[in-house]
Amino acid sequence: MKFSPTFLATLLVLVPFVGGIALLFVPARQTRFIWIGAIFTGAVEVFLGGVLYALFDGTSHAIQFAHRVEWIPQLGASWFVGIDGISLFLVLLTAFLVFISLIYASCSISQNVKMFALFFLWLEGAMIGAFVALDILLVYIFWEMMLVPMYFLIGVWGGDRRIYATYKFVLYTVVGGLLMLAGILYVVYMHEAQFGVLTTNLLDLYKTQIPVAEGWKNPQLLAFLAFFLAFAIKIPLFPFHTWLPDAHVEAPTVGSVILAGILLKMGAYGLIRFSIPLFPEAAVELSFWLMALGLVGILYGAMVSMVQPDLKKLIAYSSISHMGFVVLGIASLNETAIQGGLYQMLSHGVSTGALFLAVGCIYTRCHTRIIAKLGGLSGAIPLFATFFLILVLSSIGLPGTNGFVGEFLILLGTFQTHKWFAAAAVLGIVLGAVYMLQMFQRVMYGKLQTHGEGGDLNWRERAALGLLVAFVFLMGLYPRPILEKMTASVSHLARHYSDYQLSLYGEDIAK
């Protein structure tokens, strides 16, 4: 058993908030100092993430670094955070992407810098909070808390139609959030009815038996759907996806990075963390339909991507396709496929986040994202072209890049139980090559259309994209360090989701 300091998870949530609050005391004109402070906070978070990874015991599926403080005793609510193999890498991804986004933002955001840094760190804290929270009330609070800074990021630093986009984004997510709240209340109520204790502790709630009945008045099914809708909007699953392209197009580059890289993962994480273990019978019953939705998302996203005139929209729709793979894998309830789904979430975060950064680089040089107006950039900005090509290949899922590992595990696992789903999803791999390569060709090859200004990548862009590209290969060629530490948790879920229990690290060994 490894040393498992309890405060680490709490610290990871608090550091960004503390950093953000500290920046409040810096005069707004000191932008250089604000950036240094923000990036430093991001770096501390990455460092803490590294410590977290090193101390994490991959052989155990138990909750590690658990930290619990009573909060509202009347409600049984507490500050309860902890990390297992499922949340570990999402936390690391968040810290990593926020750090990189801050580096990139420091050369692309020039207005309201102080407010930006504040919201960005707030967003980071909320996202990490949502991943590590183990009290369902706390989860809900962090879940909603993420919305506010995202709302401002799009609304203040966004494009021309940002008001419409934020409206749509907020409307969708709030509706989903409210439904989830109803579901939460129901689960808490059922737990109290069965155990006589009012609590919002997720580990206790797992023990609740949500009643099952025939037909549409099946309470478990309805509760599942209430949660599911919130997650489906976040992921986003077809047909709940239309807020995403608009939000991306209007969001500033780093907003898109976080939106695609991490916020979308919330939905898939919710499926793994809440939907399946809380409502196992419903999950099994609906497995077929979820997979069908995932499959439709894969194909629909790939087809619609191909005809997008705007680079950001294209990548937004490609996210729908890639997240379709994630849902397909998770919903198949096969161990390998779930693991693949989790891996795909990470690799999608890296490569799609990076793709949005790349689009940002194009936009700052050519002042347009319309594919028809671009062309021949390969010659003008060769280093960028190399990075962009690698990211495109990763998105296509070329073996040796991170995209392949996730997709392969998902398809391999799904194939074991649902041959035809996997066979149809393989089509998505072909269609993925079609739209990505077509885009790459139109933007980078042919005659130079718009003379960009600013030349090839500056050092901050190099650092941001270079780090992400390094992870594209690292995760593609040597996935072991990641897969190893998530295996125990994933296999525990896949084998025991029908009577899911999570204990705290140390307690399970003591037994």
């Binding site: 969708y172 047909p239 239309t242 392209p245 161990e335 194939f415 390569l437 060709q441």
Partner: protein, 652 residues
């Protein structure tokens, strides 16, 4: 021997040297002196060839059943159930043969490229990609795991994409690269499904572990499952090796630099499909129906491509169709379970087709980029070395007795015929026709390029002489084309100890019996061989005579058979068919999907809801307008529900 312990290192070195060359050339592609790129690229492949050559010599000194070296570079993927995927390499007679072809022919083509690409501004990038290709191809042939093989498989596809579109300023060339990648992806999707089926059944993708398992199934499930696996994997081969119906990408791939066409689209990558089937011959020999289908696809492709080659006017396109046709012969061979014959033809084809392409490249180089056959001519006097080497290659591919192509093609034809079924007789006949057509289109090509008068005055006489690094590869490849037959002479011509050496070398990897020629059918073989050579010699001399006597005979023939001529000239309208049947409907469908479902459907209804919500909030007059307020409202609303709930709980 101390060196014996270094064998795993040497295998890895052979693989990593080209990769290192790629990294050096790629990272410093704008900083190193121009001259260095070529020598780094060529040198790394040359060293790799030496490593594999030495390893092959070691292999030959071992007893036949033990001829295999293995090494592992660590674990890649692991699964909840089943064997993990290791980066395992195997060096056995089959991979040795392939690795020597890849690095040997590859070395010569790299050397040639130094001269060919000397003036190009992207020379660093060029050699980087060429080295990456070599590394990926080596990974493909050395892999001991089907998934690792797949890494090489898609890796060579990537390099092919990058090199076809090497001159990306030209939209058409970039388009050709994309087409190649996508058509290959279709095959790769089938290949992946084949891997999933294998894993579902045996929980492993390791070739060594699978070899004894193919036959482990009960007869009932064996047939269907094995056939499905074999067909799906063959789907991958159809894409990679440009067989019907996925042949459309290879002619377009000629947009790349000519040495690339020689290395990737003639000698090595396109033969990967043949290699894969031979590597899995234990599987394929269990499913005769699939084997027959492969033979059928092969021979139809051979015939299809040979007929198209008769009419094309672009020198590289003729050679591309010729490649497709020759690959068809190889698939006919593997489909007829003549795996050793397929590899033999693969090797000789690598020699003579690489030579043909390099010769064509030299001609194009000398004519300042001219590709049109009708504007060439009289190159015999202008470039005698190219003329002689190209002549050797032409005679070899036609199958003039004594040259390597004769032996390898004859072995295929004979082994097809000697199966003795009516299907095999039919395929043999079709293959014979394709071989006859080969003679005609090659003589046509040769005549147009080298003989007759110059049909176009090239701009000035400023044509440069070929540098030695371009002529040397031509000469070496000409020797190999001429004498390569020694590798696998038939019993008919050679004493026991020299006959069928390649077949014997490969025998430990090929299941069942190697069908060595028994004593009795020697006569039959002799007759068949005589027939084939008679056709080759007769037809090519007839065609040559016609060209010399009546140079315009093809034009009058084209007029006389106008509908057929147009069918062939337009390549059976296969591209147009796909465009009309798949590409356009797909684009149209996607567009309407987006417009109807997203823009009008989902968004329309959601915006409707939004209007309702906005009206609702106005009515509530909690807020006047704006978004933050409505958000706050929602949160408040949520909090309210929660509060009421808590309150009710506490009352209880």
């Amino acid at each position: 021997m101390q060196l014996m312990q270094e064998i795993p290192t040497l295998i890895a070195m052979g693989l990593f040297l080209p990769l290192l060359g790629f990294l050096v050339n790629g990272i410093f592609c704008r900083t190193l002196p121009r001259k260095w790129f070529g020598w780094i690229g060529t040198g790394s492949v040359g060293l790799s060839f030496l490593a594999f050559g030495w390893l092959t010599l070691q292999l030959l000194q071992m007893p036949i059943p033990e001829r295999m070296f293995q090494t592992s570079l660590g674990q890649w993927l692991s699964f909840s159930a089943g064997s993990p995927v290791f980066w395992n390499l195997r060096f056995d007679p089959l991979s040795a043969t392939m690795a020597l072809v890849v690095t040997g022919v590859g070395f010569l083509i790299h050397l040639y490229s130094i001269g060919y690409m000397a003036e190009d501004k992207g020379v660093g990038r060029y050699f980087a990609f060429l080295n990456l290709f070599t590394a990926a191809m080596l990974l493909l042939v050395l892999a001991d795991n089907l998934l690792v093989l797949f890494v090489g498989w898609e890796g060579v596809g990537l390099c092919s994409y990058l090199l076809i579109g090497f001159w990306w300023e030209d939209e058409e060339k970039a388009e050709a690269g994309k087409k190649a990648f996508i058509v290959n992806r279709i095959g790769d999707a089938a290949f992946l499904l084949g891997l999933f089926l294998i894993f579902a059944q045996w929980k492993t993708l390791s070739i060594s572990e699978l070899s004894p398992l193919w036959q482990s199934l009960t007869p009932e499930i064996q047939w269907g499952l094995l056939s499905a696996i074999a067909l799906l994997l063959f789907g991958g081969a159809v894409g990679k090796s440009a067989q019907l119906p996925l042949s459309v990408w290879l002619p377009d791939a000629m947009a790349g630099p000519t040495p690339v066409s020689a290395l990737i689209h003639a000698a090595t990558m396109v033969t990967a499909g043949v290699y894969m089937i031979v590597r899995l011959n234990l599987l394929y020999s269990l499913v005769p129906v699939v084997s027959d289908a492969i033979a059928g696809v092969g021979v139809m492709t051979a015939l299809f491509a040979a007929t198209v080659a008769l009419t094309q006017t672009d020198i590289k396109r003729v050679l591309a169709y010729s490649t497709i046709s020759q690959l068809g012969f190889m698939f006919l061979a593997v489909g007829s379970r003549a795996y050793d014959a397929a590899i033999f033809h693969l090797v000789t084809h690598a020699f003579f087709k690489a030579l043909l392409f390099l010769g064509a490249g030299a001609v194009i180089h000398l004519l300042n980029g001219e590709h049109d056959l009708r504007k060439m001519g009289g190159m015999r006097r202008q470039a005698p070395l190219v003329y002689w080497t190209f002549l050797f290659a032409t005679l070899t591919i036609i199958g003039i007795p004594g040259l390597s192509g004769f032996f390898s093609k004859d072995e295929i034809l004979w082994k097809v015929l000697s199966q003795g079924t009516s299907f095999s007789r039919l395929t043999w006949l079709l293959a014979l026709i394709a071989a006859a057509l080969t003679a005609v289109y090659m003589i046509r090509l040769f005549y147009f390029v080298f003989l007759g008068e110059r049909r176009r005055i090239a701009h000035g006489e400023a044509e440069h002489a070929l540098p030695a690094n371009m002529t040397l590869p031509l000469a070496v490849l000409a020797l190999l084309s001429a004498f390569g037959g020694i590798l696998n002479l038939p019993h008919l011509f050679a004493p026991e100890s020299y006959a069928e050496r390649l077949s014997h070398f490969l025998s430990p990897l090929i299941g069942g019996e190697i069908r060595v020629h028994e004593a009795a059918p020697l006569l039959g073989e002799g007759v068949a061989m005589a027939l084939a050579s008679l056709i080759a010699v007769g037809l090519s001399s007839a065609a040559l005579l016609l060209f010399l006597k009546r140079p315009d005979w093809t034009t009058s023939l084209a007029k006389g058979l106008s509908p057929i001529y147009r069918l062939l000239l337009n390549k059976y309208w296969l591209d147009e068919l796909y465009d009309w049947l798949i590409v356009r409907p797909y684009v149209r469908f996607s567009t309407s999907l987006w417009q109807i479902v997203d823009v009008k459907g989902v968004d329309g209804s959601v915006n409707g809801v939004a209007v309702v919500a906005r009206t609702g909030s106005t009515l509530l007059s909690f807020v006047q307008s704006g978004l933050l307020q409505s958000y706050a409202l929602a949160m408040l609303f949520g909090g309210l529900i929660f509060g009421v709930f808590v309150f009710l709980r506490m009352l209880r």
